[in-house]
Amino acid sequence: MAQVIDDFARTIQLDELWSDPYPIYRTLRENQPVAWVPAANRYLLTRHSDIAYLEKHPEIFSAAETHSLMIRVMGLTMLRQDGADHLRERKAAEPALRPRMVKQRWTPAFQRIADELIDGFRDRGEADLFTEFAAPMAAKCLAAVLGLADVPAQDLQTWSQAMMDGTGNYADDPVVWQRAESAARGVERAVDAAIERLSAHPDDSVISAMLHAEDPLTPRQIRDNIKLFIGGGLNEPRDATTVGTYALLTHPEQRARVEADPSRFKDVFEETVRWVAPIGMYPRQTTMETELGGTVLPAGAKLGIVLASANRDESVFDNPDTFDIDRTGRVHLAFGGGPHFCLGTWTARAQVGAVALPTLFRRLPGLRLSGAEPVRWGGWVFRGLLNLPARWDV
């Protein structure tokens, strides 16, 4: 039996994970919750309980991965450090991202961004809401929060994609490296211009917070951490926006209740990121030999923490594959946990749950899938819709 299970983990292919990882995760959760998966070159952790344990023990499960492609692309960011060094960089950015700041300062800006984008295509009666709404909305909101409001949304999107492709460039493709490097240089130039402006005139942005913190970050630390924000703060709200919209469009009964009581968009957001976690997997590395889920992990073992699977764990969520906004009291892990708990949690809740989703449904009456082409899904490290062709009444 053990042999058969071992064979299953060995047969997993990355392209299968990319097209639909969920059946594979179910088998792993049942049979081998901590499994060496050669195709991923990592042990994959798939149970909610093991991941919740890991997130409470950063001293055993380090974020400072060796030979990290993220460090190669972005330099040393807060997300690849532990302990006091990590906390110092995180705390410097935090004032710009705390809930009160998000509510008072950023939410009104997010609302203007959403309305302007919708003004641009509403009369047409149809649009691909991925390219025309979710992606530019995520980029413009991020630009505002970071202190890069004058950087074109398209540049941020291009940089973000190029850097993320670099962090996943295990195939060592030279073209991918080249694009990632030029994206990193682009970010550095934009950040340097912002530093010059914000040094003399502080504002509420992340870059300004880092510059004027009690223990300020160096220009290099600011540049590298802003690469992390751009690489990791754009796809996720974009994907939560398209997936949340799609979920309501395909669950008319829940949609009707949410439209009747817009305060429920909050629940739509949380259930969306549970159902399809935008960050499906993040890496960690053991600092010592340890046992987890019945598997002995050697020191230095590379792990893939599969949040997408934890969020569908049947021992925690009833009917885990079903989209259901009425779930209560169950902890999804879409924002991670422990010291690296998503720093953008409150921003994401505001831009997607409080602004993007309610505004789309309010301003586009009769919103529906266009049917002209099928919606497509993809990804496992990051997962979401690749398009969202829609129509509405004009």
Binding site: R90, P99, V331, F335, G337, F341, T345, W346
Partner: protein, 107 residues
């Protein structure tokens, strides 16, 4: 080693002897007390380690800080007079016998 008592919504109590220096949140996690989720691990960023203290205990607890006050407006269970984030309550000898109620809703 002060004793801290965690009271569940159904009245069940867990009494823990806790080292000074840790926090009410960490002690609960280490002992697996139900209902203390603590997603952010003590950063005062998630509001999922909310507990109710008795307002009469306020003078043996540190004052509510700005970050904590802000997060207490984001809790799943309603905020009350004695609402605290347990990650912001370092254990001291003065807290001997402190009782904290765990809210019905934490997320």
């Amino acid at each position: 080693m002060p004793k801290i008592v965690y009271v569940q919504p159904d009245g069940t109590e867990t009494a823990l002897d806790v080292d000074a220096g840790t926090t009410v949140m960490r002690a609960a996690l280490a002992a697996g007390v139900q209902g203390i989720v603590a997603e952010c691990g003590g950063n005062a960023m998630c509001a999922t380690c909310h507990v109710y203290t008795d307002p009469s205990d306020s003078d043996r607890l540190p004052a509510v800080g700005d970050d904590e006050d802000e997060m207490l407006d984001c809790t799943a269970g309603a905020r009350e007079d004695g609402s605290r984030l347990s990650c912001q309550l370092p254990i001291t000898e003065a807290m001997e016998g402190l009782a904290v109620r765990v809210p019905r809703e934490q997320v």
